[in-house]
């Protein structure tokens, strides 16, 4: 589904990603872990198409297409979803309005009929129950005045409504209390399916107590230093990141 080969990217003169190789298959859940400044969020941003990053080398293939050549909206319409680490506020723009516009853009791309207001509401209400969100969310401005936890929940609600093929969750667990974390994890787990892949970018292994990954990668200094299964995450929790860096340095 997603094939990253030798990906290098920089912001201005600073090289952040220094050769990433990663393959994600349908149905898999990957966790990308790493210390602050290791390039985790940069990787998520480059994949979603955020401006300001220059890819200097490497390729990214998504569902057989050259992902890097696609505009952000085309990536979204092709089923790529990024849950933002810091969801932005868009004052005055109705939450439901943005979500309906996005959903219909995606549906159009998939060759499905657009949903009218009633069909959309029925769908979104259903998903909101899952996320334990109050209906008043719909009529509020996009992320306007939301608490940190509400913003993250809103991201997962959007994901549940848009039903992406590949979901990238950028530090979705940061700033969440334990109850909110459980709700968010529930939402993510409910979306696990054989034809959908999920990539969790996270600093802590805490989230992985609730969402069990199939593969864990350790990203540090712009490279993936180690790949393993769940137990790698637990080891990181116990030992920190330094030992991996030391081993990689020795090798």
């Amino acid at each position: 589904m997603l094939k990253i080969r030798d990906l290098h990217a920089r912001i201005g003169e600073r090289e952040i990603l220094k050769g990433i190789d990663l393959e994600v298959r349908p149905g898999e859940v990957h966790a990308i872990m790493g210390p602050n400044g290791s390039g985790k969020s940069t990787l998520a941003s480059v994949l979603a198409g955020r401006a300001g990053y220059e890819v200097t080398r490497g390729t990214v293939e998504y569902l057989g297409r050259d992902l890097l050549a696609m505009e952000p909206e085309d990536r979204a319409r092709a089923g790529l979803f990024l849950a933002f680490q810091y969801p932005v506020e868009i004052p005055g723009v109705n939450n439901a309005y943005l979500l309906k516009a996005g959903l219909n853009a995606v549906r159009k791309q998939r060759g499905e009929p657009e949903l009218d207001a009633f069909e959309f509401l029925a769908l979104v209400r259903d998903k909101m129950k899952l996320m334990q969100m109050d209906e008043s969310f719909l009529s509020r401005g996009v992320n306007e005045g939301f608490s940190g936890g509400e913003k993250k929940r809103n991201e997962i609600l959007q994901m549940a409504v848009l039903e992406p093929r590949l979901a990238l969750l950028d530090e979705t667990d940061s700033g969440l209390d334990i109850d909110a974390l459980r709700v968010v994890a529930n939402g993510v787990n409910s979306l696990r399916s054989p034809d959908r892949a999920i990539v969790l970018v996270t600093h802590y292994q805490r989230l992985l107590d609730y969402i069990a990954p199939d593969v864990v990668h350790v990203l540090s200094g712009g490279r993936i230093l180690r790949t393993g299964d769940r137990t790698l995450a637990l080891e990181l929790e116990r030992r920190g990141y330094d030992w991996i860096r030391e081993e990689a340095g020795a090798a």
């Binding site: 979603a48 198409g49 955020r50 401006a51 300001g52 990053y53 220059e54 505009e71 952000p72 909206e73 990536r75 979204a76 319409r77 979803f81 990024l82 933002f84 969801p87 932005v88 868009i90 004052p91 005055g92 723009v93 109705n94 309005y97 943005l98 979500l99 516009a101 996005g102 959903l103 853009a105 995606v106 791309q109 401005g141 996009v142 959007q158 848009l162």
Partner: protein
Amino acid sequence: MTDTNQDLDAIVGQKYRHGFVTDIESDTVPPGLDEDVIRLISRKKGEPQFMLDWRLRSYRHWLSMQPPDWAQLSIAPMDYQAISYYSAPRSKTDGPKSLDEVDPKLLATYEKLGVPLHERARLAGVAVDAVFDSVSVATTFKGRLAKAGVIFCPFSDAVREHPELIERYLGSVVPYTDNYFATLNSAVFTDGSFVYVPKGVRCPMELSTYFRINEAKTGQFERTLIIADEGSHVSYLEGCTAPMRDENQLHAAVVELVAMANAEIKYSTVQNWYPGDEEGRGGIYNFVTKRGECRGADSRISWTQVETGSAITWKYPSCVLTGDNSVGEFYSVALANHRQQADTGTKMIHIGRNTRSTIVSKGISAGRGQNTYRGLVKILPSAEGARNHTQCDSLLMGDRCGAHTFPYMEIRNPGAVVEHEATTSKIGDDQLFYCRSRGLSEEDAVNIIVNGFCKAVFKELPMEFAVEAQNLMSVSLEGAVG
């Protein structure tokens, strides 16, 4: 990756859609201004003596005045002798008596603008007065309004048919000495709309006027006067367009509103005069004086404006809150794109006790546009318990435009409560990216962000026009991406 600034430029680089000229024979006075021209205008309109005298007093006063230079605007000096002060579509009679007599080309023009004059075709419940260059060409629904006792007619007709109302109220809110452009208007105004809503009457429909400048080298000096007598209610909307021309054209209007006790006037403007081209050639100079007086207790005047056109906009729709417990409101969206300049805002003058005012101003700057909010909140010693709340927000698109805010406050009653909030934000790359990563095109993303920014103002517009304003905003911002 795309360069967001370039994309924004393309999006805001949309062409003007009302820039056609109607080829119609017209009766245009040669350029120039002197007392003879004023006498000629007055004679063509068959005005009573008091009107001519007022015009001449205004003209003589104007000669002693200088154009204002305090606005954040750069205005090329204007040659007032190069303007023609009267232009009317030529017809066999002095003026059309009914729609059947109106030149079909003129009707087609308004069709094109989306203002069908035929009553059957018109949105139910909206009466329209259409002003083409200097004269009013048709007023619809006159009969139904008359049944309710509402007078809605071209200003010229009102001068002839209701001289007592004109003499009593004209200049009572904006005196002929008020300012350079208002004084010029008082001398040479040609047409506009007149509304009188009698005591206790709720006007049965929205009233609206469409202004259109067609003839080259003419100015448009319309005059609108709305009087809401005790306990009455009226909602009025004006829309404006003009052809694309290389030279600048002057539009210096005066609007006066009078609200008696318990009366309410809601005045909405959707201004889409030709803004000039990308390099700032041509476009309308929109120098307008609008003021309403809440003369009676518990009255309310509400201004809502959506200003997307004009090369230069200079206007400050204001409220004089004389009556106790009266309320003044100003809701504004102003867009300055390419090389457009806007210096707009309001004045809220609190005189009566417990008077309240609300100001919500949304300025959008794009291209090399310069957008200025200028507002005065003045609380006199008599205004016990006065309150004001001002909210001024600026949205910048790209990095070559400017937003400026000049809030003035003169508080002479210690018990007054005056609040001012201001924000300036750039239409964020982050906001655009967020919307796009949910599947919206960049163009749609810009539109929803801008419309969200304007929401607090758009919701004040009458329903049909809120949709129109949203579309207009989208049109003014749309274009090829990339």
